[in-house]
Amino acid sequence: MNKNLTLDFSVDKENKTITVKREFAAELPLVWDAYTKSEILDQWWAPKPWKARTKSMEFREGGTWHYAMVGPEGEEHWALARYTNIQPQKKFTGLDAFADGEGRVNKELPQSKWEVTFTPQGENTLVEFRIVFDDLAQLEATLEMGFKEGLLSAMEGLDELLPSLKK
């Protein structure tokens, strides 16, 4: 695997934006599919040891992606992304919100706007993922609640231990 595929991560508080840039060792149509088809998203969207599970997805303007992040203990955090603009194989934008299993958006919790841009780089593809928050401080709460355990265990390499720990 090409080690040049490093993550470019920047925070812009003024615009309440976090930008994640990364090149992928595949041509654009493939990478586009990986971001826009639920059966592929389910394979990578959740950080280990969490798993993403799509309940429904309609990738069209106005359509939604209703999915759960499922933890190692089976705990579920539901989210609903609504696609607002799609320029095939170039860019899509959407609104990501916390929801419940029925797809009802939780307005108490922070929402974020996605702007995902795809640029061909020879045989590779550069993806720029801009996440715009209403309030960056709210994001702290986001991290506190859902992913912390999953993340910390991933960080400490516990994900490899988990199968053997389970009875």
């Binding site: 060792a25 493939l30 401080a137 992913f147």
Partner: protein
């Protein structure tokens, strides 16, 4: 006005000031020498950094020295590191998924 640490690091000059005083405490005029902005502008940045709890002041005779509040800086690092880790984890999984997809195409 409520301030948070992300506001503090949003401005490129404030980031530069943070870097500058990371190694040693400095007076506002010593800091100002490193920038093409007024002493007042530097003071304003320092005030915001103080309000965010990122720098602390030490009085030494007539001079006020500014230095970094390291625990606060570590909080930001930790928080951003978590966020970054999510994406690193995601993307290394995506690398594998793409590799599988590519092999299937052949």
């Amino acid at each position: 006005m409520r301030r948070d640490v992300f506001q503090a690091i949003a401005d490129p000059r404030r980031r530069a000031i943070i870097l500058l005083i990371a190694s040693q405490a400095m007076t506002p005029s010593a800091i100002a020498e490193h920038f093409d902005i007024s002493r007042q502008a530097v003071s304003k940045h320092l005030r915001i950094l103080s309000e965010c709890g990122l720098v602390k002041q030490e009085q030494d005779g007539r001079e006020i020295y500014y230095e970094l509040e390291m625990t606060k800086m570590k909080q930001i690092d930790k928080w951003l590191d978590q966020f970054r880790k999510i994406w690193e984890s995601r993307f290394s999984q995506l690398d594998e998924v793409l590799l599988t997809m590519k092999n299937k195409q052949k």
